[in-house]
């Protein structure tokens, strides 16, 4: 299996600084997006710390991943990621408690780990993971946000949510409480899959169908990141924007075929 990944983070035209943070790691294949919360420097510190703690923890535990038949509900990879998230939570919570300038800081975090053709997604907050499979887009994360909760309870519709004024209120974050529960989702990877992680600067400006359409037309991971950020800005996103795009090829021939096909599509579009 071949994995191609690219990432792009942009503070956007309206923000002074970028409080998003991300990482793209090769071995093991780990991708994280975090969107920091908190005044002055705190948001930047929280998102960066969370990403680094999880990244380092996963690197340290990589040797355990072989033991895939844990017999538990989730794979060792997924539970390791979730442990890393808990660790990041304690670290950030401790600092915010003991340091006045960091009080109230926190972050979202959405992480994806690919091992043995299986993808584990662990998240807290409203940064999203998407899967585009055969042109069809599926959300791999449920937002921990007030509007998502309202939709779940049947108080508002998905359409109402698009125009909600409390879109940015999240119900779970890393660093706000001494303990945090992360959601775990797992899937098997298929040939031609595209996995996207992004902060809400992207997902609140673009609909899932728009993201799917950009995924279909993009040349490669780098092109998709650029397109999504530019489109989100064009759609009026006022937030920081971060995208990680991951392309999965299970065999070399399909990779070649896909790149030729996307070149042809690209040319047709330019004509």
């Amino acid at each position: 299996m071949k994995i191609y990944a690219s990432a792009l983070s942009d503070k956007g035209p309206f923000r002074e600084k970028n409080e998003d943070y991300f990482c793209v790691e090769k071995a093991p294949a780990l991708f994280i997006v975090a969107d920091g919360i908190g005044g002055s420097l705190a948001g930047e510190v929280a998102s960066r710390m969370a990403v680094e703690v999880v990244r380092d923890f996963v690197a340290e535990k990589e040797g355990d991943f072989r033991d895939l038949n844990s017999g538990d509900e989730h794979s060792v990879c997924a539970t390791t990621l979730a442990e890393g998230v808990k660790l990041a939570n304690s670290a950030i919570f401790d600092i915010s408690q003991n340091n006045a300038s960091y009080r109230g800081m926190g972050t979202t975090l959405t992480s994806a780990l690919i091992f043995n053709e299986r993808l584990s997604v662990v998240h807290v907050g409203d940064s999203r993971a998407y899967l585009i499979r055969a042109g069809c887009i599926q959300q791999l994360t449920d937002d921990h946000s007030l509007v998502a909760e309202q939709i779940r309870l049947g108080l508002i519709t998905e359409e109402d949510a698009e125009h909600s004024t409390i879109k940015n209120v999240i119900t779970r974050s890393i660093g706000a409480n001494p303990e945090v529960e992360a959601d775990i989702n797992e899937i098997n990877m298929a040939d031609g899959d595209i996995v996207i992680l992004c902060s809400d600067g992207i997902s609140s400006a673009l609909t899932n169908d728009e993201i799917a359409a950009y995924g279909k037309n993009a040349k490669n991971a780098e092109d998709l990141c650029r397109t999504l950020v530019n489109s989100a800005i064009a759609a009026g996103s006022r937030d920081n924007m971060t995208v990680v795009a991951v392309y999965i090829y299970k065999d070399a021939i399909s990779h070649l075929f896909n790149s030729i096909a996307s070149c042809v599509r690209r040319q047709n579009k330019d004509d």
Binding site: V121, A134, G135, Q138, I151, N185, E186, I187, M189, A190
Partner: protein, 227 residues
């Protein structure tokens, strides 16, 4: 340790551990398991251990003791069995450390009693609230008789990566995707030329699956069941 559950109309009324060699079931007070009902004899039945086995013996009761619908004198009872005495039912569970053995599937958490007010911790609550969807194959050349939808996304298609496999030369690699969200299971058609039928009508929009929905796709007829 063996625990005997006494139920009335599906609700657990009492739970009794078998601590001595024999315990008694009856209407009179002094029985280990007391059933206050005129259909039950003073001392109605005995439950005891013979080696590893748990047995139930009718104590010459007026209205009889029934095991899985059959009147019995003395019979060994297993965890899946149901004993009826009057309008009440008895069943046993084995307590092995903290885990509860009941058949092969210790998957669903045991809910102690629904008449009593109880507090669930959030983890338990999520487990109970979380729908567990399965597709059972009603008709067609499926690769399995039933499919547990445990992953976040399940693929229906011809692709070797698909969990629910369909056949045929014109069958699409990916015909539909099922997403297990916090709101339930959503089925999204992925191939415009091979749209699925849900409960008899063709669908090209994402569909929130409901218990007992019938899905026809790529020559398969599947029923969605929520456990």
């Amino acid at each position: 340790m063996i625990k005997v559950l006494l139920k009335f109309k599906g609700n657990i009324v009492s739970e009794t551990l078998i601590k001595s060699a024999i315990i008694t079931v009856g209407r009179e007070s002094g029985n280990d398991i007391e059933i206050d009902n005129p259909a039950v004899s003073g001392i109605h039945a005995r439950i005891g251990m013979e080696g590893e086995n748990v047995y139930i013996e009718d104590a010459n009761s007026t209205n009889g003791t029934f095991l899985n619908g059959k009147k019995i004198e003395k019979e060994i009872i297993k965890t899946d069995d149901e004993v009826i005495i009057g309008k009440h039912s008895l069943s046993i569970i084995e307590l092995d450390g903290e885990s509860v053995k009941s058949g092969d599937e210790p998957l669903t958490p045991v809910i102690p009693s629904l008449d009593k007010t109880m507090v669930l911790d959030s983890k338990m609550q999520e487990k109970l609230m979380e729908p567990k969807g399965i597709f059972t194959l009603l008709d067609g050349p499926g690769n399995q008789k039933s499919y547990n939808l445990t992953d976040r996304v399940t693929t229906i298609g011809k692709s070797s990566d698909a969990q629910i496999r369909i056949k045929g030369f014109f069958a699409p690699k990916v015909a539909a995707l099922i997403n297990k969200t916090d709101k339930g299971y959503t089925l999204t058609p992925a191939d415009k030329k091979n749209l699925p039928k849900i409960n008899g009508s063709v669908s090209n929009e994402p569909h929130m699956l409901k218990d007992k929905d019938i899905l026809e796709i790529g020559g398969l007829t599947l029923q969605f069941i929520v456990k």
